[in-house]
């Protein structure tokens, strides 16, 4: 397997201060949106990040994109440290596809301008050269070139997401970050876009980070999966490994919670008591300890580190503490 690291994140934290008061604002607490997250992205892979609301997946994506400055920690992209002030030649190598195809396209620009915008910002190509890049790309994402003069409102949700993808790909980025790109779409359109991602992955040898709350989408698209909960990584494993040997109780619960589209195969759910705690008053120990059926005493007071259990499989859980080396 190709082990060329494109992006490396280590000890990444994002704390949002919570302020109260009118004139002299006091910081009364912190929302630990992302709390000490480390992982790597290898060239050519699709890394899925899954988690429920408040797990920090979107903040994480925004930090990697340089849209949000980290509180602590490092992001290394192509061997260089990056934050909100990335040089333009690095910035153009990370592109993003957003969740909402309606609000991420400027309604007053026709789609030719929208898709070509990154070229105008980062290059000085002539109109003809731009056309040379644009036309094959349009074909690959499935937009009719006769539609270039139209405006975003004239397209359906699925078409708009194709436009967003074309805009992200036009600079041939090294890394494509997708934040819930199919969540706003209907099932039949979602399937089209997921297939499109698969095709583009092959055509352009894409490296992708794919953020979603939907386990079935993540399973379909990813090579490796990170499970997040309340700002922390619970488990990282290659897809097959994660589904065949799910270790973390949260990952298990998350998988069993998904209703299966087959009345004959209704699985016994692992009932999860309680709700996702607010990241403002996260428990001191394992963030999942309050809802975990297997929680021991230690889980409530001590945060488990991410431990290596088998090839490429890491889990942050005290249940797997013995006999495993603490690494990463």
């Amino acid at each position: 397997m190709n082990r060329d690291i494109i992006l490396s994140v280590s000890g990444l934290k994002k704390y949002f201060p919570v302020r109260r008061g009118l004139i002299l604002q006091k910081t009364v607490g912190q929302v630990k949106a992302v709390d000490d997250v480390s992982f790597q992205v290898y060239r050519g892979e699709t890394l899925g990040i899954i988690g429920e609301s408040g797990c920090g997946k979107t903040t994480l994506a925004r930090m990697i994109m340089g849209l949000e400055k980290q509180t602590e920690g490092e992001i290394t992209f192509l061997g260089k440290k990056i934050d909100t002030e990335m040089p333009a030649d690095l910035r153009k190598k990370i592109q993003m596809v957003f969740q909402d195809p309606y609000s991420s396209l400027d309604p007053r620009m026709n789609i030719r301008r929208i898709i070509e915008e990154p070229l105008r910002v980062h290059t000085k190509l002539s109109a003809n050269e731009k056309r040379q890049i644009l036309l094959p790309l349009l074909k690959n994402v499935g937009i009719d070139e006769n539609a270039l003069q139209k405006y975003p409102h004239e397209f359906s949700g699925g078409q708009r997401q194709r436009i967003g993808i074309a805009r992200a790909l036009i600079l041939q980025p090294e890394l494509l970050l997708c934040d819930e790109p199919v969540s706003a779409l209907d099932v039949s359109i979602q399937a089209q876009i997921l297939n499109l991602f698969k095709d583009l992955e092959e055509t352009y040898h894409l490296t992708m980070i794919f953020v979603s709350h939907d386990m079935s989408v993540i399973r379909h698209i990813s090579d490796r999966i990170i499970v997040m909960y309340l700002g922390q990584i619970m488990e990282i494993a290659p897809k097959k490994e994660l589904f065949d040997h799910t270790l973390h109780p949260y990952s298990q619960a998350l998988m069993s919670a998904i209703p299966v589209a087959d009345p004959e195969r209704q699985r016994a759910r692992i009932p999860l008591k309680g709700e996702i705690p607010s990241p403002l008053n996260a428990p001191p120990g394992c963030p999942f300890s309050g809802r975990c059926a297997k929680a021991k005493e230690i889980c409530h007071c001590q945060k488990p580190g991410l431990r290596h259990t088998s090839a490429q499989h890491y889990v942050a859980c005290h249940l797997f503490a013995e006999g495993c080396e603490e690494t990463l």
Binding site: Q159, A191, S216, R219, P259, A261, R269
Partner: protein, 329 residues
């Protein structure tokens, strides 16, 4: 036997400057007492409009019920005056909406909104209403209900808000609860809790449920029977087991095949080509035509009726003509 709800040939059109859209175009179905019926389809298929039309909640500025009957306990909901209908709404038929935060009024306490459901239909004392409200919150497993009554919606989590909405819906022991995408706005683990709750309540209280959803997994987990809608009409109807095991309509087949699976790996998803067109009245061909892989000349000329199939399902597709038992509709 008498059905709890029997909808016949319901048509509801949306009027815009450009066209008249057949949002619901001749939908018929029935619901037995205590049955859970799933109304499935993608956005714009008319599934929400069906229930809004029968509960009188469509916006008259652009939508109108053109024809049809909706017999609820033998009384036609569509012929009722607003006054009569509002006596049934909340008492006999109640609703749970998609987005729990926006479905609760932000400026009133949970207690206020819960007791309102009671005092609207019964003359009860403050104390009685309060007691019943506490009982209802217990029923939906909300811890420390007495304190919750004094809280405002924004102080609760999404899952708790949805429980409150369910409690409101159950306040008057309705015979029918209509749940419109009740779990779509929730996280998966919370969705699972809410689905379990709905199942439990249904077996304890025995009310019928119409569950509107786009999520096939939710239908499979909850429903006895299902209607698949497309372009304002029912394209397939049958028991959940039959439809999931052997879908008949090309749209149902495509929809099921296009869902990525959590339990197995597929290289590619099946995908239905194209997108949902916008229809204008009158429609005189198969609505799924342009996206269908097995469409024929006949599909272009005539809209297929709902054929009854030997396996008990009904399917609106010409391919079923030879398989049908008898022609219907």
């Amino acid at each position: 036997m008498n059905y709890l709800l029997e909808v016949d040939n319901l048509r509801t059109y949306y009027y815009s400057k450009k066209r008249i859209v057949p949002a619901v175009d001749g939908v018929s179905f029935h619901l037995e007492k205590g049955e859970v019926l799933g109304l499935v389809g993608e956005s714009g298929c008319g599934k929400s409009t069906v229930v809004r039309a029968i509960t009188g909640l469509i916006d008259p500025t652009y939508a109108r019920v053109e024809e049809g009957t909706a017999l609820f306990c033998d009384a036609d909901l569509l012929k009722m005056k607003e006054k009569e209908l509002s006596k049934i709404r909340g008492k006999e038929i109640s609703m749970v909406f998609q987005n729990p935060l926006s479905a609760l009024n932000p400026v009133y306490t949970i207690g206020n909104q819960l007791t309102e459901a009671l005092t609207t239909h019964f003359s009860v004392s403050r104390k009685e209403a309060q007691d019943r409200a506490v009982e209802l919150l217990r029923l939906v497993h909300i811890p420390s209900p007495e304190t919750r009554l004094k809280e405002y919606p924004h102080q609760l989590s999404g899952g708790m808000q949805q429980r409150v909405l369910i409690a409101i819906a159950l306040a008057c022991n309705p015979q029918l609860v209509i749940a419109d995408e009740p779990t779509t706005a929730l996280d998966v683990t919370i969705q699972a809790q809410i689905l379990d709750l709905l199942k439990e309540l249904r077996s304890r209280l025995g009310m019928a449920i119409i569950l509107i959803t786009h999520n096939m997994g939710v239908v499979a987990a909850m429903c006895d029977r299902m209607l698949v809608m497309y372009g304002g009409v029912v394209v397939e109807e049958g028991s959940c087991r039959t439809v999931f095991a052997s879908p008949s309509h090309p749209y149902t087949k495509g929809l099921l095949a296009s869902i990525p699976s959590v339990t197995e790996d597929r290289q590619r998803l099946y995908s239905i080509k194209g997108q949902v067109p916008v229809f204008s009245v009158p429609v005189s061909q198969c609505r799924f035509l342009d996206r269908c892989e097995s469409c024929t000349e006949r599909c272009r000329k005539e809209e297929p009726p709902l054929f009854s199939l030997p396996n008990g399902s009904k399917c609106r597709c010409w391919l079923m003509e030879e398989r049908q038992g008898k022609e219907n509709d």
